[in-house]
Symmetry: C2
Subunit: 192 residues, 2 copies
Amino acid sequence: MMEKRRRGNDLDSAILDAAWLELSERGYAGLTMEAVAARAGTSRPVLSRRWDGRAALTVAALRHQMHKHPLTVKDRGDLRKELLELLDRAADRAAGVAVGLAFFANEYFQHTRSSPLELRAQLLLGEANVLTPILDRAVARGEIDAKKLVPEVTTLLTDLFRHHVLMTWTAPPPAMRKIWVDAIFLPLVRAR
Amino acid sequence: MMEKRRRGNDLDSAILDAAWLELSERGYAGLTMEAVAARAGTSRPVLSRRWDGRAALTVAALRHQMHKHPLTVKDRGDLRKELLELLDRAADRAAGVAVGLAFFANEYFQHTRSSPLELRAQLLLGEANVLTPILDRAVARGEIDAKKLVPEVTTLLTDLFRHHVLMTWTAPPPAMRKIWVDAIFLPLVRAR
DNA sequence: TTAATAAGATACATTTCCGCATCTTGACGC
DNA sequence: GCGTCAAGATGCGGAAATGTATCTTATTAA
């Protein structure tokens, strides 16, 4: 029987995709090396040679997935447009947020004494903050009042987004995102 | 050797307290019947006779703990006072929120297709909503504008609270709670 | 063409935790 | 005081995963 064998990056990628599908369907708690190997069409030893257990595999799969949905928002000359676009892009990453928290709740908490906040910081290492430049541009345009941007207000939108994902395990619908922007965030920061 | 034996409710309560301490220290993922039994000074069969596995034990411990911190806020004639008191009381339940989510992420997701939102609804069955009467009183007093109470705004404070707990695994400090009330919630709903 | 490398299959030992069966003994009702 | 019931101790068997050793074979580079 002639078999095709994948190697190196091809194989890495195939395994990480398989791991991601498993994570999406079963959750981190239901993830097994066996199932990932089977879905990727390979066997456990191949995974063991690459990653040190399912925790490391999960982090790798998470990074791999995040890499597919880069989060950037270009200057559109209008704060509202940019915020809505940011939330729209973030929706693609909702599943990753959920998996990340499940991972933390399952494992990270046991071995470290840290919080999901720190896990998030680790996962996002190297990624640029997207919100800050958006708000900086809006301040420069005179759209919003810099004095109103206390930390709790600054992170309001992303916090609401994250909260919704954590509680429903799904991305917030567009209508909800519009209300967050128009009825909550903008009224709080608008220069007037 | 003379030994004292606890029975019925005394024993139940001792085991649930032990389970709660284990949950606080190790998290749900690190919870074992063995450890709970040991900490409660009893043995595994005693737990097995009462609860069907650690999932049921966790839910029971969660309910038991919630029962110790009832969440009620009396009429104080002032919305701001009542909101701050609500958040203050909620801080006692922060650990419960964290454990609840960890439990969901570990187990609930695998067996049901539901969300933490639904798990929360199950856990809070029978408990009265505390926020609603507070806001109703404030509307009656003319402190806030009922038209501004869209759902996303109504739940804003408790959502921010929950988000903070989920991300930091700790209760938000009083200063932060004050900013939420004074710089975010009240400006959005104040009748003017 | 050939030699080195790594993929893929299989099997084995280990670990961890659970439920249950069994047995003794203390607690409580009558 | 006595009988019933459940607490508490102990041990066994099983389920679920994991890591690793071993072996064959496809792939790739020289």
